[in-house]
Symmetry: C2
Subunit: 657 residues, 2 copies
């Protein structure tokens, strides 16, 4: 199983090769194009009335000398512009748009003017603390910010062929390469927030410049080495922190700098940083063939998905530090589960699939994408969740119980710290990147999302047309177009949530029983144009139980159908969701509900409910158990929650034991 990078090279099929046309996902991509990206442009230009000020664009104008004023926002405010540009680039790959491109070009011109002659590019330090450059890597996100600009530069070049932003980024990266390294006059350090690592590999891939790959590897190798860079840096700075006048309290685990990355077998600290780091590690492992780094990726990934991931694909259970807690500590109500962390998990999964084609990675990618990621955005694309709880009681939110200060029972407008909305936008706009990959003679299908892909496999150029009724129904068909007949394999992921998967090739049953490798049914044959593969799978309602070491889920059940994890909401079930109990044998049935979030498939059935009528006023009562009564229960997909009136929600429901 698996590979050492460099051998049997796996490549994702890039989004340039894929055009999505899908009943479920096209809506989101259109939404990003028509609503999210235009709205975010207004937001970063401070033109949205009532929204928190951003300052992101004006910071660049100030740094470029085009405008007077002071820096506004977080030290990493530049990334809102970068992520917006990256999303724009993906939209332009999907469909050129001269107006949008013109706006982006204008922004890029400003960015160019804001860059210093050395290549340095960061409006916070340029405007506000020009003498403090590279003095607080621990906290100030300088390389993180650079990384996002590089991702934008690479994407915009791929989209438009225009080199300006790419050149700006190369100039910036060359400056970074001069500043950081093992040399006597170089900073032997790395950033507090990982991101540059994966960005530099992208820059390497598009430019072919090996120095960028080496710089990425340097940041990964150096992280967590002793003596501690962050300690030494803090010492030089007098232990100042940008957050207050107090002294810095350095917790290196928060930054994944407590030990070298190859020794980190438990995900710890800020969740987004962990998965961005993991993506960068996997990139470098793939490009350099570093087996020890590949093994480190597997360990860290394994810990996350087998001990620290919510059933919704959320990660990072702790609000303080937006961080991982300890193994199996996954509270549903005080949870953090940042949208960006699940986006990072998707990034990591895609990278792991480039190290070894194992459907376990794709399953997690799908889980995060169909649940937490799209739950992060309202159906109209205008409101966002930063935190994604699995259990909500609005009565204790909004300051009533301070344990829930971070939990919002309804999605919010653009945030001051606006990492999540543009991150959703860039992921959705680039969704084509996550569907297929190719290894040797095999095309892997990781996600069942309709559209066309132009793929080169085993020397053959082919077009693969996918038509998918997933996520709502279980039928997917593929049609192959080739110039001339060719032998290769198509590997179809066999989803864990599916049952009785029937495959036909050109209408004839195809027995995949002995063809399943690492979760994929591999159909190898000589393909002709017009060949059709069909999958028909049942999507039964799955009762999900969690590992009995997860304290909060013991005795509870969740439902899943297809890729969707379900939840119950007050709008359908009344308040006091804790009073509902699902018998193990109660029949559940699906039904369309066109009124919720643009139309969903709901799950309903008979349940039991604690009968409060007979309780009275006492807080505690002796001897008599609370009687149960029959009750209807209705589940909707988790991603669609909070699109109606504010109310309670819960993913996990008590089960009759």
């Amino acid at each position: 199983m698996g590979q050492t990078a460099g051998m049997n090279r796996i490549k994702p099929v890039s989004m340039k090769q894929v055009s999505i046309k899908d009943d479920f996902w096209s809506y989101y991509i259109d939404l990003v194009r028509d609503v999210v990206v235009p709205y975010q442009w207004e937001a970063i230009n401070d033109q949205v009335e009532g929204a928190e000020r951003s300052g992101a664009v004006s910071n660049f104008k100030i740094a470029a000398g085009l405008q007077e004023g002071e820096f506004y926002g977080y030290v990493f405010q530049d990334t809102d512009v970068a992520k917006w540009l990256e999303a724009v680039a993906y939209l332009l790959i999907n469909e050129r748009n001269a107006d949008l491109e013109q706006i982006a070009d204008g922004m890029i011109d400003i960015i160019g003017d804001a860059q210093q002659s050395s290549g340095y590019l960061n409006t916070y330090f340029t405007i506000k603390e020009p003498d403090k450059k590279w003095t607080n890597l621990t906290e100030c996100h300088e390389l993180y910010t650079a990384g996002h600009m590089i991702e934008a530069g690479v994407a915009y070049y791929q989209a438009t062929g225009k080199r300006k932003l790419l050149d700006i980024c190369c100039h910036m990266a060359d400056d970074i390469e001069r500043v950081f390294g093992y040399g006597p006059d170089q900073i032997r350090g790395y950033d507090g927030h990982q991101e540059i690592e994966l960005a530099l590999v992208k820059l390497y891939e598009v430019t072919g410049e090996k120095k960028y790959l080496e710089l990425s590897k340097y940041f990964i190798d150096e992280r967590g080495q002793k003596p501690s860079f962050f300690e030494a840096e803090a010492e030089r700075r007098g232990w100042t922190t940008i957050w207050s006048n107090n002294k810095l309290q350095l917790d290196e685990g928060y930054y994944q700098a407590h030990k070298p990355v190859r020794e980190q077998d438990v995900a710890r600290g800020h969740a987004v940083r962990v998965v961005y780091m993991l993506a960068g590690m996997a990139d470098v492992a793939r490009e350099t063939g570093d087996a020890s780094l590949f093994e480190a990726c597997r360990k860290l990934w394994g810990n996350i998905v087998s001990k620290q991931m919510y059933v919704t694909g959320g990660i990072g259970s702790m609000a303080q530090g937006e961080a991982f807690s300890v193994d199996y500590d996954l509270p549903n109500d005080t949870v953090y589960s940042e949208t960006c962390a699940s986006i990072g998990l998707v990034f990591s999964a895609q990278r792991m699939l480039q190290l070894e084609p194992d459907s376990a990675y794709a399953e997690v990618m799908e889980r995060a994408l169909y649940n937490t990621v799209i739950a992060g955005m309202s159906r109209d694309g205008k409101r966002f969740f930063y935190v994604n709880p699995l259990e909500v009681n609005p009565k204790v939110c909004s300051g009533a119980n301070h344990n829930y200060n971070h939990i919002k029972p309804v999605r919010q407008e653009w945030f001051g710290c606006a990492c999540c909305p543009p991150n959703i936008a860039r992921l959705l706009a680039s969704l084509g990147e996550y569907i297929y990959s190719v290894q040797d003679k095999t095309v892997y299908t990781h996600l069942y999302i309709g559209g066309e892909a132009a793929i080169e496999v085993a020397g053959t150029k082919m077009v693969l047309k996918q038509d998918s009724s997933i996520p709502w129904e279980g039928k997917v068909s593929f049609e192959v177009e080739v110039d001339q007949s060719a032998e290769f394999g198509i590997a179809l992921r066999m989803p864990q949530w599916a049952a009785n998967v029937q495959v036909t090739v050109n209408g004839e049953a195809y027995d995949v029983t002995n063809k399943i490798v690492n979760g994929y049914a591999v159909i190898e044959r000589v393909w002709e144009s017009g060949d059709r593969v069909e999958l028909v799978m049942e999507m039964p309602i799955k009762r999900v139980r969690s590992h009995p070491l997860i304290k909060g889920n013991a005795g509870k059940v969740a439902l899943q159908r297809g890729p969707f994890v379900y939840c119950i909401e007050e709008a359908d079930n009344g308040a006091q969701l804790q009073q509902l109990i699902l018998p193990q044998d109660s029949e559940l049935h699906v039904s369309d509900d066109p009124a919720i979030a643009g139309g969903i498939v709901a799950i309903s059935g008979e349940a039991l409910r604690m009968n409060m009528d007979q309780w009275g006023q006492a807080l505690y009562q002796y001897d008599e158990p609370i009687p149960l009564k029959q009750a209807q229960i209705k589940f909707i997909p988790y991603y669609a929650w909070a699109n109606r009136d504010m109310g309670e929600m819960s993913v996990w429901v008590k089960e009759q034991l």
Copy 2:
């Protein structure tokens, strides 16, 4: 039902009249005398190696000019000395002790020297900010600190007849009376932390000086009036706060100053302040016959005990602000439930019993006392809980998951903010004060604690000897001694946790069926010396369920036997307590366990446990429910938890529904 204060005056039987000799409680009182008070004297003198510095005594020496140095500790550090002196006074009431008295007299001399000529007494402001006196009532606890000194002064006078500390307190109170009030040159304000209110009523009672009662009433009446005193004060001060360099964020609800006390029908904010306020309100209602204040007490009390109290008698479910949350929000794991808050609840209950003899108050008093209060101290009297969780997982404490930073899985040594240990000491040392009260011709027995009480009832002096096997067994006997036969009533609380209560008078069955008034069986007769009343009650194991609006307890059961709420610990049941399920019909039996916490009665029975053996590695699994297997379960009284190896604990256990 009930009374307007002034009519049918109810008086508690003071601890001077009661000597406790009880199998359960004498141990604790001896512990306070032999261990806690000596240890705390060392602690407040900074003589305990390894413990946090206190500074409390040296602050007084510095303020008195007897020592050089700087103030150390919290603004209310003086109260540690006051509470220690108060506990000493109670011990001296129980048993004179020349050595201890000499130490206390020496301390009082220092306190006298630290008092300013005006009467002002507070070492923080005397030493550190002499020009800031009375400028930050909101935060600086000046009147709170004064209140504790008054309680000490009253108690020490009652114990020894020595007036020195009492006179110091009168001098201080007179100064306060000059400073505060409705006059043009007076501060029309009150303290951020209630305490002076109840203390001034004590001072009034011992001195007969009505002005102290009026001052107390003034503080209560003025609290929460508009325009806001705290706002005006902050405005004058420029919104400074003593906690940081930031601006004060004023949440008047935290201080119960968001509305006048008579309009507060929901307990809100810092829990200790609420119950100290409630005690003071009840005191003033009783002494002034203020019916509206009495009604306000009932409302606030009713909200606490019927919507915001843990089954252990803990209150204040929220760590931030050590505060009440909202109705029915009683999480078991992130709970606060400060020991001092339950002590304050005992204070309030005793005051409510002086407004109306209703056993509901005594039930709560007993619940808090036998569970949270004594859980607050280790069996050896050397370690303390500040926070009293109902569910503990040590793996997430100690910084692993920051939601549990305030939860300690083992009791701690003396704290820097040492409110709880001396509060436990003074309550236990004065336990005699809480057992009986008298109204008209009736002696009420609220707690079944053995000993002798000298009581005057209906003009007759009598001695009531109680012999109690509560809390472990259900037999209590009383013997009456009177100079001459007299007619009066003895009202015996009929505990809610008891069954089949049999009463005999002089060995003959006495049918109480129609004699029960407000939860007390009233035995009225002409009593002769040697008359004996016996209660024999069954103490069945009670299964407790909580109101179905308490989300965290739905589907769970707790056990209670007698006054004790029980819990399960890892030491008896293995780890992963969430995997245990108690069938509704499983037989439970009691057994002595002499090895735990000096000997307890345990409860054991058959339960079910989720069988992890068949689970495997996956975090989530489809379709197969987790199989259950037979398991033994063992409960111990909650107060005795954490006296063995560190481990998990839970009060509420899953119930098979």
